[in-house]
């Protein structure tokens, strides 16, 4: 069992003008762990991820990745170190075929050496990766323009783009939102496989039933603060969590 800490978030604060979006947010994440990050809408989950991935700079506090202080580092540098993420609102290049959408992540300096740079090399890798996340090769789905694909495939494409970067830490921001039960059931095994392969994963999710099936640990946020941290079943019993989700009398 690996227990080395891969990510340490220490005392993060972020305010946008007068709004305190994140306050004293902290946690350690062990290598190979699957962490669920949950909380009501507007509780600061995505902001927390933006702070970790460098898309937003924290007001104070620090983020350490593999022992390295990455606070305030440019987002593209953090990606190169090995953190990759998906976005809640997928925005692919709609006029391009799905597999061409994979070219930009495969162009990343992080994977450039592994993929090769000749014309067409990336196309082949892109098609393989898309097949891994469920783009049926026989049906030639990967060749369809992204604008013609249903939401389920667009989410798979978003996942494939993040996996293409071969990250050490994968952050999935509401990957299941807007998907049908059948579509979620199709994507879950892919995440389970990533976990079996030893990938460290953070999942922001509102689909708690599915999340609790695979998460090792859950952190609950409300008003920018951590209100509970632990095993899924224990966390949901906490009074603070109940009041955050259901309100108090």
């Amino acid at each position: 069992m690996k227990t080395a800490v891969i990510l340490r978030v220490a005392g993060l604060f972020k305010n946008f003008g007068g709004v305190q979006a994140i306050s004293d947010f902290h946690f350690d994440l062990a290598e190979g762990e699957l962490l669920g990050l949950i909380g009501p809408n507007g509780s600061g989950k995505t902001t927390a991820v933006n702070l970790i991935t460098g898309f937003v700079k924290p007001s104070t506090g620090a983020v350490f990745f593999k022992g390295l202080d990455i606070t305030g580092l440019a987002a593209h540098r953090i990606v190169r170190l090995g953190i990759s993420r998906t976005f809640q609102m997928v925005k692919p290049f709609y006029q391009l075929p799905a597999y061409k959408n994979m070219i930009i992540p495969l162009y990343s300096p992080r994977v450039k050496k592994l993929v090769g740079g000749k014309y067409g090399d990336r196309d082949a890798v892109a098609l393989d990766l898309l097949e891994e996340v469920g783009f049926e090769r026989d049906a030639r789905v990967a060749y369809k323009v992204a604008g013609a694909l249903p939401q389920g495939y667009l989410k798979r494409l978003e996942l494939a783009k993040a996996i293409a970067l071969q990250p050490d830490l994968l952050i999935l921001d509401e990957l299941f939102s807007g998907l049908s039960l059948a579509e979620v059931a199709g994507i879950l095994p892919i995440i389970e496989k990533l976990r079996r392969d030893g990938k460290t994963i953070i999942m922001i999710e509102h689909r708690l039933k599915e999340l609790f099936r695979i998460a090792d640990r859950v952190i609950v946020m409300n008003f920018g603060q951590k209100i509970a941290d632990g095993k899924a079943a224990d966390v949901m019993e906490s009074a603070a969590v109940k009041s955050a989700y259901l309100g108090t009398e």
Binding site: A75, H76, R77, F87, K100, P105, L106, Y107, S108, R110
Partner: protein
């Protein structure tokens, strides 16, 4: 015998999509024709034109280069309102090298293109983080600022400019250098934008967050696109200095900023070929309209408005669409 109509391009697209397996001349001509025939026509055109219209063609090629340079920047998400900056910088650098040091045009033009490109890129580097209209505003202001700087400090000939530049050795060299440069830029950059590198550039325009999320430094790529585009613009300016044998404040004129944008919009932005086509239409039109005197700009304006309203996609995209919809009669198996 029963017949039905069939799209010409369908079979060709299927056969040439993955593996190149076209075997009839007609099919190859269908694909190569729209590229090869205009190139041949452009190369033969100077032979058929008189001196006056040759000068117009020269001007067309210069504006086409500026329009291509504008379109390249636009495809990377940078809308420039100041192509005159690139043009003027190239013009002044070549003018200074030729006037003060007496260097020959065959040396000053390439040096001015590269040096001018580097200076323009350095000037715009601090504002590369600005997006949309904010970036555009700065590009609009810079050439206007440089004009006032030259006027106020009277450097490089001040309002008089620098005269007596060495002309290019021959009229034919002039015309074929600039036409060649235009074709090279058109086909070279079209190819560049079709590669994976080009996809990254276009990705920055469509969704820069997604490109950052691939670990790619978008400012570095924007800088590269800016350097390429400004080098092309500076080349056009340097070239024209040796044609006019003069460089002065008019090289920073608004015409060099606005006309390339009009050309790209009328011709069809996003394809480079559209920008070139636009220049081939607007520059000669402007010459023809000289006949109507003071009303010239009115007619020109009306033409632009009509075009933009009637064909918002641009001529190139319209023609391309129609070309792909060509049909032929084929026999139906009964």
């Amino acid at each position: 015998m029963q017949k039905r109509r069939e799209r010409v391009d369908r079979g060709i697209n299927v056969r040439s999509g993955d593996v190149f397996a076209l075997c009839s001349w007609r099919e190859m001509l269908y694909l190569a024709g729209p590229r090869v025939l205009p190139v041949i026509a452009i190369l033969l055109l100077p032979l058929a034109l008189g001196i006056y219209w040759q000068k117009v063609l020269l001007s067309v090629a210069v504006f086409a280069l500026l329009a291509i340079s504008w379109d390249l920047l636009a495809q990377t998400g940078m809308i420039s309102l100041g192509q005159a900056l690139f043009f003027g910088m190239g013009a002044y650098v070549t003018g200074i090298l030729n006037h003060y040091w007496g260097l020959p045009p065959l040396l000053t033009i390439p040096v001015a293109a590269i040096l001018g490109g580097l200076i323009c890129t350095a000037l715009l580097l601090p504002v590369l983080r600005l997006r949309g209209i904010y970036f555009s505003m700065v590009t609009l202001i810079l050439p206007l600022m440089l004009v006032r700087l030259i006027e106020a400090t009277r450097i490089f000939g001040g309002t008089e400019g620098l005269t007596g530049m060495t002309p290019l050795p021959s009229r034919w060299l002039e015309i074929y250098v600039i036409v060649g440069a235009m074709l090279a830029a058109l086909f070279g950059f079209r190819r560049l934008l079709g590669t994976d590198y080009g996809l990254v550039l276009k990705g920055i325009r469509d969704n820069d967050r997604s490109v950052i999320n691939a670990g790619i430094n978008i400012y570095w790529y924007k800088t590269q696109a800016l350097l390429i585009a400004s080098t092309v613009g500076a080349f056009a300016g340097a070239f024209m200095t040796h044609v006019y044998m003069f460089v002065g404040m008019p090289v920073f004129a608004l015409d060099y900023s606005i006309l390339p944008i009009a050309a790209a919009v009328v011709g069809g932005p996003g394809s480079l070929a559209g920008a070139t086509l636009g220049a081939f239409l607007l520059v000669p039109l402007s010459e023809v309209l000289r006949g109507v005197g003071g009303l010239r700009i009115v007619f020109y304006g009306v033409f632009l408005v009509v075009f933009i309203v009637a064909l918002p996609e641009g001529i190139f995209h319209f023609v391309q669409r129609k070309y792909n919809q060509f049909e032929r009669w084929v026999e139906v198996d009964s």
